[in-house]
Symmetry: C2
Subunit: 354 residues, 2 copies
C-alpha cells in the first residue's frame, strides 16, 4: 500500500462543534494512509478486504459524503443504466427513454447487464465506484443497505425503475399502475362477456406481477366470479413462459375462453401455443397482453394490451437523477407511478356461444 | 489559459536520430503551455478554436500517439457504441452482442445516439476525447479523416459495423453478405414461380441497400427477367417506408405477386399496406424480409426473411476492438463479412394462377 500521503491529517474537534469528517480523519482512525482511503473510495482492487471493510465502516459511521460529484471535477458526466437482462424487446424501450434525456443533457449513458433480478451484486458495485457515474438507474433491482451506503458516500444517486420488490422508503423509484392495469385487462374481457378468464402472471417474486394478478382477481370478484387458482399460471415474462402456461390452460378439460398474459412477450407465447392446437385468436380465444411494446401492433392478430409507458418511465427516472445531482436538496424518497391504459386491437372478441 | 506547466519542454534532437515527439515538444512549437496541449488532448472546452487547431495540426504532423491506453492507467475501461438512431428493434440485437463481449471482459459499455447516418459529428468527437474509451464501435457511420486522426492520436481504436459507405482502407469493419442476401431472397421467390417481383430498398445512399438491390437484380437477370425500375421503391428501413412503397406497388395497374422488402421492419409495412387492400399474405402476395429480427417469427404470418447475424456481427466487432487494444500490432484494416442465409417461414408461397 502506498504511504506517500500523510496519514496524520486528523485534528481534534471541540466538543459540541460539528465538523464534517475529512478523509484524513478516516485515515487516522483506520490507521492507514490517506491514499488507501482514497483507493477504497474509488473502488480500486489493491486494498485488502480487511482494510476495505474497516474504512467502509468508518465512512459509514461518520456519515461521510463526498462533497462534489464527479460532474464538477471536469471529467465526463455519465449515467449508468443497469438491467438484469437485455434479452427482450422490453429493454430497448427503456434505453430509448433514458438515452433521449441524457443526450439532451450532454451526459453519457453506460449500459450494464447484471444477470440478477433482485440485486446487481458486489462485483458491479466495485465497478461503479471506479466508473464514478453521476447516478445509476436500476431496472427492477433494488440495492442492499450496504450498497446504498457505498453509493451515497461517493455522491452517486440512484433511481429504481419498475421495482421488483417494494422499494425501501429511502429509495427513489418510478413504477406504473400495475394493479389498475390488471384490473382493466380483466374488466375488458368481462365486458366482452367472458366468464372463464385465465391468467399467466410474471414471476411471483416480483411486485409488479403480484399487483397485476391482484387487479385481475379484484375485477373478477367484483363481477361475482370467484377466483379459480387452476386458471392462473406463473411465467417468466418471456415467450417461453407464456407458451408453457397457455399450453397448460388450453389442455384443461374446460379451458378458458380468454387469457390475460401478463406481458406482451407472454402473449406471443399464448399465440404460439394456440396455433398448433387449432385454437383461433380471437374467435376461440381472446388474448390480452401487458406493456404495449412496439411489436404488439404487428403480430397477427394485432394484440389488445395494457399500455405501460416504459419510455416515459425511463425518461422520468433520468430526469429525476439529473435533478438529484444538480440540487442535493432534492428528496431522494420520491416515488412516481405513471398511469396504464387499455389499448384494444384485434386479439379480443366476445366468446363464442358453446 | 493555465500557465502553471512549463512550456519549454522541447529539446533539440540530433539530426537523423528518431525520437518520439513529446507533449512538451508540441507545446513549445505551438507556443502554448503543456496544460493547454493536455486540454486539447482531453477534449476540454476551455481552449480557443485557433489554439486547438494549431495543436491538433502539430499532433497530426508529428504523428503523435498516446503511448498507453486509458486501460493501463487504472481507470475504468469502456467501449463506446455509437448508433445514428436507437429507434428500432434492430438496435437491441447489436447492443446485446456488444454487451455480451464487454461484460465477459469486465469492460463498461457506453451507448451514444448520434442522430446522423453518415458521421457522428464534431460534438461527439469532443465528448469521446473527454470520456476516453478504449475503443469505439460505430454502427453504420464512418468517420472523417480528421476525426480518425483525433481518435488515433489518443490511442482510441474504432471499428465500423454494417458500414453505410465503403469504408476507407484504413478502417476495420464488420459487415454481412448483403449482395448474396439480396440474391437469395429473389432466388427463393423465383423458385416458387414468381416472375413479377417488387422490391423496396433501404436508403440508396447506404451501401448495404445498394448491394441488396444488386443481388436481387442479378438473380432476376439470371432467370431471364429484365430489371423493371417501376417495381423498385426506396424506403427508410422503417415500417413507414415499407408501407409507402408497398402501397405504390400494390396500386400499380399490374401489381407484383411478391415483394422483397429490404428489411424486416419494411416487411411489416408491406403487411400494413396489404391488410386494408384485402391482399392476403401469402395467397395474393409473397413477402420476404431482411435481418431476421426476433419479431419476424411472431408476426402474422411468420415472415420469410434473410437472416443477417446482427448479434454475431456486434460480438465480432467488440472482440476485434479488444484485440486491437491488447495488441497494438493488430492490423487496423481488417474487414469481415459474415454470411447471410434464407429463413423460410409462412409469408411466401407460389403465385396464384391468374
Amino acid at each position: 500500500m502506498s504511504s506517500t500521503a500523510n496519514p496524520n491529517g486528523s485534528r481534534k474537534t471541540k466538543p459540541g462543534l460539528e465538523r464534517r469528517v475529512t478523509l484524513a480523519d478516516i485515515a487516522a482512525q483506520a490507521g492507514v494512509s490517506l491514499a488507501t482511503v482514497s483507493k477504497v473510495l474509488n473502488g480500486r482492487a489493491d486494498v485488502s478486504a480487511v482494510t476495505r471493510a474497516r474504512v467502509e465502516k468508518l465512512l459509514h459511521g461518520h456519515g461521510y459524503l463526498r462533497r462534489t460529484s464527479s460532474a464538477s471535477s471536469g471529467s465526463a458526466q455519465m449515467v449508468e443504466l443497469v438491467f438484469h437482462e437485455l434479452e427482450s424487446e422490453w429493454a430497448i424501450e427503456i434505453i430509448r427513454g433514458v438515452e433521449r434525456v441524457t443526450r439532451e443533457a450532454g451526459i453519457s449513458l453506460i449500459l450494464t447487464e447484471s444477470g440478477d433480478r433482485h440485486s446487481p451484486g458486489h462485483a458491479w458495485i466495485d465497478g461503479v465506484l471506479r466508473r464514478r457515474p453521476m447516478g445509476v438507474i436500476l431496472v427492477f433491482s433494488d440495492l442492499e443497505q450496504q450498497e446504498k451506503h457505498k453509493l451515497r458516500s461517493r455522491g452517486v444517486n440512484f433511481v429504481v425503475v419498475d421495482p421488483a420488490d417494494e422499494p425501501e422508503p429511502d429509495v427513489a423509484s418510478i413504477g406504473s399502475a400495475n394493479w389498475a392495469g390488471g384490473f382493466a385487462a380483466a374488466q375488458h374481457l368481462l365486458a366482452l362477456g367472458h366468464r372463464r378468464i385465465g391468467m399467466i402472471s410474471g414471476p411471483d417474486d416480483m411486485l409488479c406481477s403480484v399487483a397485476r394478478v391482484d387487479g385481475y382477481r379484484s375485477a373478477l370478484e367484483r363481477a361475482g366470479i370467484g377466483f379459480d387458482a387452476t386458471l392462473v399460471r406463473t411465467g417468466d415474462f418471456h415467450v417461453a413462459g407464456g407458451r408453457r402456461g397457455a399450453a397448460q390452460l388450453l389442455d384443461l378439460p374446460e379451458p378458458p375462453t380468454a387469457i390475460f398474459a401478463g406481458s406482451d412477450l407472454q402473449a406471443l407465447g399464448v399465440y404460439e401455443a394456440a396455433r398448433p392446437r387449432g385454437v383461433r385468436i380471437p374467435e376461440d380465444l381472446s388474448v390480452v397482453g401487458y406493456d404495449d411494446l412496439r411489436i404488439a401492433r404487428w403480430v397477427g392478430p394485432p394484440l389488445t394490451t395494457i399500455r405501460q409507458p416504459l419510455t416515459e418511465m425511463a425518461e422520468t427516472a433520468a430526469r429525476m437523477l439529473i435533478r438529484m445531482n444538480d440540487d442535493p436538496e432534492t428528496p431522494v424518497n420520491q416515488r412516481f407511478d405513471l398511469a396504464t391504459s387499455l389499448v384494444v386491437r384485434e386479439s379480443t372478441a366476445p366468446p363464442q356461444k358453446a
